[in-house]
Symmetry: D2
Subunit: 396 residues, 4 copies
């Protein structure tokens, strides 16, 4: 079969500043109502950004990780909920671009629709019983073969953007004698699929990372990807890890920049009676802004450089990305916390966005890989590298 | 006049690992005796590294900042005293390469000699009365015109490598009615020039950053550079600042890597009786090594990426370098301090190098620009940039 | 006139554990609705705690600061909003106990009513124009003498517990030719007094620290306290400062203990599938709980010891209290932030109280004296003390 | 037998300021030469401080822990090496006071001599093979019964004050069929006992914590203490732990105060040309001194309050002491590191004492109990306490 694929609109990176502002204009409202920012996703789609990473062979532009981190930082500064569902969609397209694994039919359907309207994708992995599957273990969600179709049953939690997803890549196991594990490609309008609005979080409230319930949801036999014996990586190779780590870090650095921009605007506008000049004129505040700006600039430079290195296939660059997530999300969290500490009540009142940025940025730590896991893994790797190091001490 | 210049040996970057090891082998001895590592400098010269940044028009290879940070990190890991005098020499050649400002005769002499043997250069700026001249103020060292020659009188402190320098670029003012300020190019063997061995520091003891006394030292009239009315920058433009900030940060990241390597070797070798396995097998130590390795990898990536951006002339990259110095030297200091805290008495005994690395790395903060100064400057710049920011809050 | 005063019920400190539990049972609900916890205040009253610091000469028990910090820590652990209005009431009674300054009539009325039902008191100082008055400046709220009565007009912000206060001590200036400044004792049911529900904060939502508007509110001529020429301290002596600093720090240490208790309960109950034992069995979590417990125990011991020293009139103890606020509130904030970082999504979901404790504890920094102010003041005092120190260096 | 005991001179706490100054006057010299400060110990003896904790039943004054921390802080500020050997002597006398365990004859000899001249005592526990015995394991040093006497053979490391000790309490095991473990009381002038000058440390150089070699050193049969089956605590009960933790923490807080005093003196004296006023006049330095002073005041208050609570037998106070060591030594280390960072080269030059204070204070972490051990122990205890806590979360 030869697919007739639409040509997707190329991503317009010059639209980013305007998008940041447009998303920011409604972010507080969506946060307050915990409502999904459909119109924000529409704007991202119109700028061609939602399909930026689709491979040219599929009619896309094949944007790489370096462009992706630029996009996610700008969107994250505007509304991190929009940025997060965009990220999941871009990561999924990029994985497909690196190593095609979707069957032709759903892929063609997905691409055709993506040319017309916003099509959001996400892999649903997490389940209540497991913690996160990257820590090991088989999924409880099960695919049973009935009359030549799979029937999927289970519950997925923390399903970002659930109410707005078009396709869900449901991580599940088969009930075959020797069970296989992989993704089942589920269109969100399938009977038996329900979304439970369980998401009630401190931050990223508009991301609606709700529960998805699957009750014998039928999936055509061939609509699977990466189905294999347990122990396979489910697409979690080092490059996919780098996209995830660097992309999400960029997103939260955007949140921290939003906090910085609010802070500096506040310091310019605020003129205490006793002082007679704006707070921006005081060395104490200048130094504090210096701390924040230097930390964020450094983290952005690190993330950008590493993304370019991953794109260039530099050996070891992908493996370095989890560490950059640790450094970058710490920098983002610290920056917002410093801003909050700096401005007292003004940073905590809900009339101002700073407290929202704080609530949002705290979510950065929660994404896989989490700090404890990656510290152990990096430490073991570093210890392994130096086993034979010539400078090692002798005769202690 | 047309100079007949020697062709300088090209820098051999493949020699770096061997150089690191050779310098490390004698670093403890020089630290203990506070003796200058002449033989280490000789090794750097033989690998063509001491003249790596000489411009091709002057017979050199024209290495840029990206190569320079690679060199300085490797040398710093071996012996930071050797690295520091190498840095000063490389920075001086690089400034000359970017904008030639030495008169022909001393330049020719310098280059001819550099082809034959190690020729160390350094700018002597700091004086007892001033603190550091970058904080403002005219130098007290004075050049008097006598019989067509300058006579230089004054005292310079913290003159790194003083005993081994061949040329000193002495920052001084003329005693003219309208005084000019700039560099006077002084060969170290001139009568009237004395070195006082005042350097007795906690760290970088082998750098011999002694006092240089000038008592009517004669300098040919034309042997000056950048002589101009006060207020000129004395070559301290943003690019020179970037070389200084990134080069020195790389050097101290090398020190921190030396500390890490000793630590990991120790953890592999140390098998407590009660434990029965090496400390390297304990999660607590693995995580701690992970922290150190991630911090140093991130800082190295940041410094390397920024150096490449400076080389490429990316707007704003040079200005970002002072911030990278803050982040990089903090990462280096923190890493060594964590290593020390981790291994108890073993980290503090003088039989092991870790305490030396700690003493050395603490010197990283002392180099210009210092943290307080650069934080203020960055903060002011960041506040200035956002004066008109569209996201700034209204009506607080 | 001789007052006939009721005998107030003595405070029952044995009731504290039960009170903590009772307040905790409804804290989430009040936080969510941002509703004032009237029934919680009623419980505090019934245990005799709301008048614990009334002087025996006024029929009270004369509890000192050491008991007050015990009370506020226990209440803060249950519901910091209840604790905060209790604190303001206890501080006001204690100031009156140390140096009687209320006129007899309102005092008698206050005490008679306090024996019957919860009577909440608070000093209203902060105004929109000023920042906080402790940073200098006259209040904009003005008292005009009309027909032998004062008429108060102005706006007070951050008026903790406004909807539930019985007496407000309104900080204002007179419109006399030489204006005086002091407190005007205003019963909250006076005509012209309105409460604007402006309080919409990240934390301490139930404290209802709303705006109070005064529009020509009449106050009997003698119903003032500490009315004096500008520059007088308005009762802000070192002892009052110590009560404020240590009392509020204790309150927020209670919040942090609530966070710790939730955390340890969670670690006992949570048994990841892959692990098979509770998280409480892992050294990583044990060490982290150790950090939190040690920090909070140390801060509690510090606050308790300093409170006892203030009660004993130890010279310098009161002056040390602002520093203890810095250390204690930092310990509280850090402890809760560490707990949040430790448990990922569970710490951020609004189903669990940890995120509420985080939001609440962040308010600790906002109370006067704020960190920047007290650091400067302490530093100046420390520098002053050592001006003549015998160990000072010579001849630098 | 009835002992005829001398009356020991009572400790003169009013001598402490003078002692601090006298010790400080020679501390640099002893640090530089790594020489033991015999004359400093003599001064401590003359003030009656070396026997301050001897029980009244033994002719002493029975000073408790609260006085001991006062003494050790003052001595630590002058010379921590003198303070450390004093600490070991005071701890040994105090243990004897709490629960007499020395045989009469050596005790009488010890006390008689202590009345006449400085008599230093120390328990020698650490051995090369073990790490520290508190981490478990039998000592390798062995006592063999030969002709009614013990013969001790082994090597003890980190034996503080070895060259100046009069009695060593050597932790060893017997070679009996069922080995016992305990202290053997060894006079330092016994044949077969040699001191190897192995101590070459970054800090506390004058403490001469050398190796002690025992080669068949004879000890009278009854000159033992706490000899018992393995598993007994060797006097390491909670109260002894509290003396050790709080006493040593006080000592290092003294070091940090010495650093603060040098810093403030420097800030008063240093007048940069460009500034025209002392650095002490700048808010940046004032705030930094405020940080240091608040941290140290808080730690001193904590240590003092806990010492008094231990003396009063308050339940749980002794168990809290290890946590106070963590907080107090961190405060001390941080304070000195901040001072170093604040003054650039001046903090690192060996002409000034600040770098010595840094080297000394880093030794605070090395004393038992070390941070990792005590964090785990505290965390486990805290988790155990809350197993049944009423506020624990349900149904997660």
């Amino acid at each position: 079969m030869t697919l007739t694929l639409p040509v997707l609109a190329p991503p317009d990176l010059t639209a980013l500043p305007g998008l940041t502002a447009a998303l920011a204009a409604r972010a507080a409202e969506h946060d307050h109502a915990a409502s999904f920012p459909h119109e924000g996703v529409e704007l991202v789609h119109r700028a061609g950004l939602l399909t930026a990473t689709v491979h040219p062979r599929h009619g896309g532009s094949g944007a790489q990780l370096a462009d992706t981190v630029r996009i996610l930082r700008a969107l994250g500064e505007g509304d991190p909920a929009v940025a997060l569902v965009t990220a999941m969609t871009l990561f999924t397209h990029a994985a497909q671009a690196r190593a095609p694994h979707w069957p032709e039919q759903p892929l063609a359907e997905l691409l055709a629709e993506s040319a017309e309207r916003p099509v959001l994708l996400n892999a649903l992995r997490v389940e209540p019983e497991l913690g996160s599957p990257v820590r090991g273990g088989l999924p409880a969600t099960t695919a049973q073969l009935r009359n030549g179709q799979w029937e999927l049953t289970g519950r997925k939690i923390f399903s970002t953007g659930a109410v707005a997803l078009r396709w869900m890549l449901v991580w599940a196991r088969t009930d075959e004698p020797e069970p296989r594990v992989g993704f089942f490609l589920v269109r969100a309008d399938r009977p038996g699929l329900t979304i439970e609005p369980t998401w009630d979080h401190l931050g990223l409230r508009a991301s609606r990372s709700d529960d998805v319930l699957l009750d014998a949801v039928r999936v055509p036999y061939e609509h699977t990807a990466l189905l294999a014996a347990p122990g396979a990586d489910g697409g979690r190779d080092a490059t996919a890890g780098a996209w995830n780590s660097l992309g999400l870090t960029a997103l939260y650095l955007g949140v921290a920049r939003a906090a910085q921009h609010w802070l500096t605007g506040f310091l310019h506008e605020r003129v205490p009676t006793a002082l007679g000049v704006p707070l921006a004129g005081l060395p104490r505040f200048q130094s504090a802004v210096g701390e924040i700006d230097i930390a964020l600039s450094g983290a952005e430079r690190l993330v950008g450089a590493l993304a370019a290195a991953v794109d260039a296939g530099e050996p070891g660059a992908a493996e370095e990305s989890a560490g950059a997530k640790l450094l970058g999300t710490r920098a983002a969290i610290d920056a917002v916390q410093q801003a909050v500490a700096l401005v007292g009540n003004h940073g905590l009142t809900r009339r101002h966005p700073l407290q929202r940025h704080l609530r949002d940025v705290l979510c950065s730590r929660v994404h896989t890989p989490q700090d404890d896991t990656l510290l152990l893994a990096h430490g073991r790797a570093a210890l392994h590298r130096t086993t034979t190091n010539a400078l090692a001490p002798k005769g202690i």
